[in-house]
Symmetry: C2
Subunit: 715 residues, 2 copies
């Protein structure tokens, strides 16, 4: 890529940004889009009075929302959203600081040094026609003394990143503790999940649990609810829900023709009958089945139970100390919030769960490693000659320069992106098969999986051009790795710069800002879509697909810091955009379905450490290739020091993200003792962990019951 | 090595065994040796009436002691010794089973197959002159179908070893639990060690601890004792002890000449003075210093304390749940038994301990890796030419065949053994610097260190002949490892067979059975040795040097199972001897100083798994070298399955060895509530963890005070 091309691309994308911002500020003001762009506010019914009435201002773009997104202080933001949202936004603040420092050092010091080198053939003195590679470290002459500047920059930058990581970890952990102190009693704080209950033949699971906990926790044990196998029931309730929707839709239908259907084979033959009667009868049958299944399911106990205690300390004791003499029985784990429980997957025995975990690891490895194969094959089909062979009539079109450039330049990456779109659901599926029992756990696990997947399949596959990557034997030959990386990674600098400018900026704006899918849905208002057209959905932010994306750009910035500092200003723009946009969708769109207490921050920390160490490994390779073996050896202590720093942070901060200490637990417990509402809370607690599928079904004709527990079971 | 040489060696060593057994059964009957061979019985004063009187039977060898060692059942053995001793003996039982099975398969099936091969040059048809290599897998023809028998044997043997491991792990864990149920209340069960106490400037450490635990554990907290910096005090008390000994000896001295010494420079000039007066005065000064230091030491608080609770559950709660919001403060760990505490090393802050741990890891790696260098250099000095150059007068002696054979054959291995003798103390030193606060922890950690050291420096260094081992880059090239091992390991089979027969049998008999060092000491009865001649020492078995030795032979047996099955019968003999000998000296000699509850069994388990996987890796290499690549690939699942089995065992059994579950804790606590002696126990508990150096010193002239706490401080 040459400078001129980059500038053009940046210009186009800046223009696009401006256009998107304008469009967004108009679109969001349309009352019909309010449910797409501010469902939180709609849900809170704050702006409902504004929904009617037309004024001209609605068609003018304004920048007020940008100001509103910047304005609230962190505490205000936290009270308006959730602690998780604050931690998520801290990723951007952290990245802004890192790239701010890196950008100054990179652009002011390293970039001129790289540019003044003459290693690459510097024929063209015309700046605009220079290759971007002239700005990368590849252009510095082999063995040049200037490389020592890069060497120092690597040391200083690593120090700064570590300092910022430490600061951020300590800031977030203190926030986490103070957020806990200010929180109201929550049911999951008092509850644990017990699995592997050893049910003897004579008694039920419920009796066993009751006996065990009344014996060993006489003063703190409150209640329990045994988990039941409700897969069939969940299927039935979801059927009932669909039928009910169809009925509700038919009732609102005015065309009598549409209110009748044919019975018989495939609905093609047979008599026309009244559809209302038909579905009504069907619904009644299903409802009867649901009730029967609810009765029979009482016997289908899974040897697992949610056990609630009267105090947080009681729950913590049962959680942290092994219960029975057999460590695979009475296995305790933290209970998720009731609405966070993922009911369908409660595999019974310890060994089954263990095996399913192993299988998921194997499946994940297979998906990650083999992902590129279909992608490359499909991409291969899109080369021009093959297209012309398969579709001869396209020949004239394909011969146009513009079309051929689009096809060869964008189609392969479009196909990659399309394939990538299938990945988050696969990761969510794998994580839920792993035995995670809550959506938050699934999301956290899927987030980590997705991150590794992205690094492997986007960064490494592009940097190592696929072929080297799949020569697995390089992993059996670790000393070759720095050399291979140092050879391949700088060469891909211009590709990744383009990637940040186009894919980074544009996808952030279009997908996150516009919420294209719900927007289109709301325009089409499909009656038989999964949801009712007038059913308001306040989405929860899908951290598992957003965090890996953001962290991947962090990885690019850190890895390319001294290789090709040109990437840094573009990443800074990305972070600024991200900061504004996410603060805005978090304030208006997303509502937290559950709260992890910022438990995904360690993932952010670890992935940053990974990026820094990757930078060091590449640095070792680069200095080796550039005939500066002294610098290459002197870099070696840097990754070791970084890993030691990481180890220290693990000891110093990680336990805070795993659990709350006795000090906090007891202070909160004592607060409760003086709380007059605690008795009410205990009542709520003892029924909190009933499977929603077991709740009595609501009257099917009342239309205000969409937020009934039935919905939660189907998520 | 040829068969004839092996048979000769076996013959000589069997003869030696018989001789040693005879000598031992005579020696142990001499009343003067009773303190060496049965100090436990002497301590129990059971046989004191037998000490005088002479009969002729004393000079006749008898085998009664062998019978007595076999006889007691496991429960009797446990009540006579300790649970740790039982677990130690289980290692031999386990090994007997493994080598019993392996021996039958190896000798009956594999050995004939190996022998009938013709890969090695089979010129000599005379059995006695055949090389031992004809019995190893090297003799099987390349690509021979018979190798599939070895392949099957590897699978079956791995299965049997895993089954036996599982059985043994489950047996020992159930024994551990039942041993806990039957144990009396012990002080360490009620106590934890708290480190990193955040002392504020206004208050003392003791006040901080008192305040924290009375606030958060009001119902279970009992007492605490703060650790103090007593290094100087310990030096002083040890000085006082030495002076006191000298005085006691002088008093018993009858020669008046010896009761006077010269004062002045180095004792060479100056007047003769009465030694009694001289040392008496010195002792008084030191004792005054001790008292002054005891007073001043009260202020030298280390921010660490032993905190005792009224119940085991109370201690377990404080142990398992993080205490303060800062995870590096109020760090809790299991308290050792009071007599097990290693007082000198109480490094204060979290970060200091962390750094010292890191430094120890580095030092250990350096010692392990660099150990062979001085050994090889010294061994190099002992070759004949160099000896003749340095010591020309030895020339005539060195030219004798016998002498030269001894020097070239035995001297290098003797030097290696001498160097090896320095290693256990070094490992103990490293482990104590690591921040371990009890002898049992130190011993466990030193045991693991010693094991890795032995495998690296004896097995790998011999198998890979040193040179390959120190080409570190093979570790950067993991795929080469199976080939290198498969090439080198079988070639060393005859060396290791000889090693088992000579070093294994003989060292077991001479060092463990004879207790040579104490025997010689008791004969010389040195007056100024560290201990009084008539002071009875009941030693504690040094597991850290015995377990690695035994496990190393286990490694040899498993690794060579299908490579050279000839080794197995000799290992069986070793196990039998070990079983008899250790049961005997555990019954008579060693008394436990502390009890770990068999916590070293996981080390045994892990090292066996390591051996099995090593065998698999070598098998992959062997089948590759023998042109049977299909078998090589089909072996690959075996190590994976073995590691999965290990992972399962970790989940199923390891937690039992880490801590006792709530079920056990509460049952024992309830037993205590009905125990009338518990109040007395609580009293004992609250003073149990005082540093013995802080106790008032006993009257120096009373000679019966040798077992005073002063002694413990000096260990």
């Amino acid at each position: 890529m040459i400078v001129w091309a980059l500038l053009t691309s940046v210009g186009i994308n800046l223009g696009l940004c401006l256009l998107f911002f304008t469009l967004y500020s108009i679109l969001k003001k349309q009352p019909s889009n309010l449910e797409v762009y501010a469902p939180r506010l709609v849900a809170a019914e704050e702006e409902s009075e504004q929904r009617n009435g037309f004024n001209f201002e609605r068609l003018l773009p304004t920048a007020g929302w940008v100001k509103r997104a910047w304005q609230p202080s962190e505490d205000e933001f936290m009270s308006a959203t959730s602690f998780d949202a604050v931690v998520f936004i801290r990723i951007f603040i952290f990245s802004l600081r890192v790239f701010g420092f890196a950008g100054i050092v990179g652009v002011v010091i390293l970039l001129p040094i790289n540019y003044l080198g003459s290693q690459l053939d510097a024929d063209s003195s015309d700046l605009a026609n220079k290759s971007l590679d002239s700005f990368s470290i590849s252009n510095v002459n082999d063995g040049s003394k200037w490389l020592w500047v890069h060497f120092c920059a690597a040391y200083i930058f690593s120090g700064v990143v570590c300092y910022l990581l430490y600061y951020e970890y300590s800031y977030i952990s203190s926030k986490r503790i103070s957020h806990y102190y200010s929180s109201k009693p929550q049911r999951n704080q008092f509850t644990i999940l017990v699995r592997g209950i050893p049910v003897s033949s004579g008694s039920s699971c419920s009796e066993t649990v009751e006996k065990f906990f009344t014996e060993y926790y006489p003063s703190t044990y409150l209640s329990h609810s045994v988990v039941r196998r409700t897969n069939k029931l969940q299927r039935l309730t979801s059927d009932a829900k669909k039928l009910y929707r169809r009925l509700a839709h038919l009732k609102s239908e005015t065309n009598p023709q549409r209110r009748s259907i044919r019975d018989g084979f495939c609905g093609l033959f047979g008599h026309k009958v009244n559809a209302l009667d038909h579905y009504g009868k069907k619904l009644e049958t299903v409802e009867d089945n649901v009730r029967m299944e609810q009765l029979s399911v009482a016997g289908k106990e899974v040897p697992a139970a949610f056990v609630s205690f009267k105090s947080r300390l009681g729950a913590a004791i049962a959680l942290h100390i092994q219960q029975g003499t057999n460590p695979t029985e009475w296995v305790t784990e933290r209970a998720p919030e009731p609405q966070d429980v993922h009911w369908p997957f409660f595999s019974s025995s310890f060994i089954k769960r263990w095996i399913s975990k192993l299988l998921v690891v194997v499946a994940y490895a297979a998906v990650t490693i083999l992902f590129l194969i279909p992608v490359v094959i499909v991409q291969g089909l899109t080369n021009l000659e093959q297209l012309e062979t398969y579709f001869p009539f396209l020949e004239s079109i394909l011969n146009l320069t513009v079309v051929s450039e689009v096809i060869t330049g964008y189609l392969p990456s479009l196909i990659l992106q399309m394939f990538m779109a299938f990945v988050p659901p696969i990761m969510i599926m794998l994580s839920s098969m792993e035995g995670c029992i809550s959506f938050s756990q699934i999301e956290k696990s899927a987030c980590t999986k997705m991150l590794c997947f992205t690094i492997w399949n986007i960064f490494l596959a592009n940097a190592l051009s696929g072929t080297v990557l799949y020569r697995f034997d390089i992993f059996l030959d670790p000393k070759e790795i720095p050399g291979i990386l140092a050879d391949a990674v700088p060469a891909q600098a211009s590709f990744f710069i383009a990637y940040v400018v186009t894919s980074g900026w544009t996808s952030l704006l279009s997908s996150v800002l516009f919420r294209l899918k719900p927007l289109i849905c709301s325009i089409i208002k499909r009656p038989f879509s999964g949801k009712d057209s007038d059913e308001l959905e306040v989405p929860s932010i899908p951290y598992h697909s957003h965090i890996p994306k953001v962290l991947f750009f962090g990885l690019l910035g850190i890895t390319y810091f001294f290789l090709a500092p040109l990437i840094l200003p573009f990443l800074l723009v990305y972070c600024c955009l991200g900061y504004i946009i996410y603060r805005n969708q978090l304030l208006n769109v997303y509502a937290p379905k559950y709260e992890t207490g910022g438990r995904f921050w360690p993932t952010v920390h670890n992935s940053t450490i990974f990026s820094v160490v990757l930078m060091h490994i590449i640095a070792i390779g680069i200095f080796g290739l550039k005939n500066l073996s002294l610098a290459a050896s002197l870099i070696v202590p840097l990754p070791i020091l970084t890993l030691l720093f990481n180890e220290y942070c693990r000891k110093r901060f990680l336990p805070i993200f795993e659990d709350y200490p006795v000090e906090c637990l007891i202070k909160k417990d004592r607060e409760d003792q003086n709380d007059p509402t605690i008795a009410v809370f205990y009542n709520k607690l003892s029924t909190g962990y009933e499977d929603p599928a077991l709740m009595p079904i609501r009257h099917p004709r009342s239309t205000d019951d969409h937020n009934s527990p039935l919905l939660q079971a189907g998520v």
